[in-house]
Symmetry: D2
Subunit: 171 residues, 4 copies
């Protein structure tokens, strides 16, 4: 959005540069254009729209890992957001070609944490970083009780753990 | 702020308990019901909707301070979000009576920071804390250049500074 | 569907002027301000936002009639939209004080039809009509099967029928 | 949403089957998945979300015609919605693969009319029609005054007229 903000992560609530830039690991790349309905009277994409884009990225990453969110729901599980942090560096505008890169940063005993980078894709090799974010999620069963990661059905748990180890930040 | 969920701020990205609990100062109270369109297939209010509610709170606080956001826009100024942190403790549901309490936490040389608490209002004296959040905003002129707080028109700057001093967290 | 939009209903898909102006009958009045997130890059409220406002009006009307939509859901019923028509006359802008007037126009054997008028409320006695709309809804049980109006629980059916007769357009 | 509603067009506000099924002409096909944020507590895509999808289709059609909406905006023009009609036949759900087919139905002296068909794409040759719609738009200059189609810049007017003639419903 301006000068200093772009310098990168000073005072960031994203836990570390390493976390953001983790090159290996499983990442999903989602591509679409900014919709008119997502803009606001400032002429830019409204800041809440990026959370929707993160969710698109999360959906794509989980599908790619073989543990789609629809499979979670079919197993009677929900995975609500418990924490969300976003840093806005530069605005997206209507019809901008957007690229969202989503990674699974870590899994705790009862939580998972995703990282997002949203770019404007001027050209395939010319990306401008617009927004970064991180979200933490728990797991709930149908009656709303927390479910530990190790209690998830194996076909859902294993891809999450594998993806976290890939990214080098699992614990 | 209440209940078990509040025990901590442990690992919270809200900067301090003091900041969250600042008792004095100018606060706006916004009241409305959760809309159906704001829910999602989990049967709860979608996590991005709270950012819209924070914005309602911010609008109400600025109007109450005498420095409405429409006055900022009329002066050729914009105040985009540069950072947003949210903690989700308990979900809101369709038609819940919602109360948003918004405070101005601090002003820096070129930024302002708002704090939000979203409650379900079971009764006027029975509030359940659902979500807390904080947002940081800069100021831009019509050409998109940053504007320092001290360079804002006096009728907009003064209410912001006064509200911050009220809340005891100004610098 | 065409012609001079402002001249009022010529060729309108709102079935009749009588329907729109029905003076008696049960009407709900909902009041709130246009939110920033509801605007778009044209600087006006995005056209899809009015459907959300209609839903606020519908919620308020049903509650006022004593047949709240949460009561429908508690009875295992859903009432999805099957048809929606909207005429946009003049745009709402950020922070405009909005008044939505909602009426129940008619009930068929298996459907209900609501009418909406959205105004900017310059002053209590100075309203500018911005948008009008109409929506038709059916009833479904938990398994997604249509439910006839006469098969609704009496405490939900009766207020709908009464409100329709009030408005003079029941059948 | 079921049964009779699917039989097609009885009492439809879409002008004719011909209009809906016009096989020739310029049509845009937009493909994406239903987002979680677009669902509501009924577990289906919220009815206002389809207007956003229509807008995606309109954006894609205009770009394909060589008269992108960003070009309209760059020329100081806006094209707000003046009328919108939607028929909901069957619901979309989270992560459904969606196909929106958008056509330019006709141009009047000062208006254009788009038609939309939204499908779930079970497979490339297995589409389920979910929702149809039509929107009418006018043109405004920077000061908000209506602009006749014949007064549009030629590079914007000509593609609109050509696409309308293609579809066999121009006037």
């Amino acid at each position: 959005m301006s000068g200093a903000a772009g310098k990168g992560g000073k005072g960031s609530n994203l836990r570390s540069e390493r976390e953001r830039q983790a090159p290996g690991g499983s990442a999903a790349v989602s591509r679409f254009r900014a919709r008119y309905a997502e803009t606001d009277a400032m002429g830019i994409v409204h800041h809440a729209s990026y959370l929707v884009w993160f969710e698109v990225g999360r959906t794509d990453l989980l599908r790619q890992l073989g543990a789609s969110y629809t499979a979670f729901e079919a197993a009677g599980l929900r995975s609500p957001v418990v924490e969300m942090d976003v840093k806005y560096r530069s605005p997206a505008r209507y019809d901008d070609p957007i690229r969202v890169v989503t990674r699974l940063a870590e899994t705790g005993p009862a939580r998972v944490r995703f990282l997002y980078s949203v770019y404007r894709e001027e050209a395939p090799d010319n990306l401008t970083l617009l927004v970064t974010g991180a979200s933490t999620h728990c797991f709930l069963d149908v009656s709303g009780r927390p479910v530990a990661l190790r209690s998830l059905p194996e076909e859902l748990r294993r891809p999450l753990e594998a993806a976290t180890q890939d990214s080098g930040s699992g614990r």
